[in-house]
Amino acid sequence: MTVQVAIQDRFAQMLAPWGDLRQTVDVALRRFAIEQITTKINELRRRDQEFAVKYGCDYEAFKHKSARDAQFVTNVESNISAVWELDLAEWQFCHEGVRDWSQRLQEILLD
């Protein structure tokens, strides 16, 4: 599938030395996508890590324990956060988001 996008004349002229404009733009967009996704992965990974520090374990361990151990949940509510469910939702988005974007990045790199 292709989508038509108008390129400003100054950019078309700027890119002319690299040959076929369409190919050059494709390469530029691919690089841009890789850069954006990498930035997003790093940001989500940083937040994932912040939650891990706050709760003293990684996401998978917390998800497992908080779904099975009522005493663990009570301790978390007493000592860390009474509204851990809000954190867990955000943590889930960050953790799973790293996986989602990593898969997309891999698809782009292998394409």
């Binding site: 997003k40 998800k63 497992h64 908080s66 779904a67 099975r68 151990d69 009522a70 949940v73 509510e77 009474a82 509204v83 469910e85 809000l86 867990l88 939702a89 955000e90 889930q92 988005f93 799973e96 988001g97 989602d100 974007w101 898969q103 997309r104």
Partner: protein
């Protein structure tokens, strides 16, 4: 693909803005497979925190706080206390499943609920905390 149209977050924010005060979007983001919306708002003197994650399933958190006290918290997290309440002796088989429930009385009280939407939550606020408006 993201499982929900991008307009859904905007509709949710519009709904909250029409009914609550000081609505602020804390986060609105998407990955190729899920979206998240986090919003804070005021309901009279209460602080309201809303989180929705849409992927192949829907996860929600609708919380009402009075300072640090949890006045009410609707969510469908896999809370083992809710799982125990729903399944009794069979609970172990169901740990990890999302179970809709309501926390109240600063989380001393917990009761099972049906799946709750933001519309349901706002209706609950109006019915149960109407004095706060």
């Amino acid at each position: 693909m993201v499982a929900t149209p991008p307009g859904d977050s905007a509709r949710l924010v519009t709904l909250l803005e029409a009914n609550l005060q000081d609505v602020a979007v804390l986060e609105e983001d998407a990955t190729p497979r899920r979206t998240i919306l986090r919003v804070s708002a005021k309901w009279g003197r209460y602080r309201v925190l809303v989180t929705e994650i849409i992927s192949t399933a829907r996860e929600y958190r609708y919380y009402v706080l009075d300072g640090a006290l949890v006045i009410a918290g609707f969510d469908n997290a896999a809370d083992p206390r809710a799982t125990d309440l729903r399944y009794g002796k069979q609970a172990k088989r169901h740990y990890g499943e999302n179970v809709p429930h309501l926390h109240h009385s600063n989380k001393i009280g917990l009761e099972l609920t049906e799946e709750v939407t933001c519309v349901d939550f706002i209706a609950w606020l109006k019915e149960n905390l109407s004095e706060a408006r």
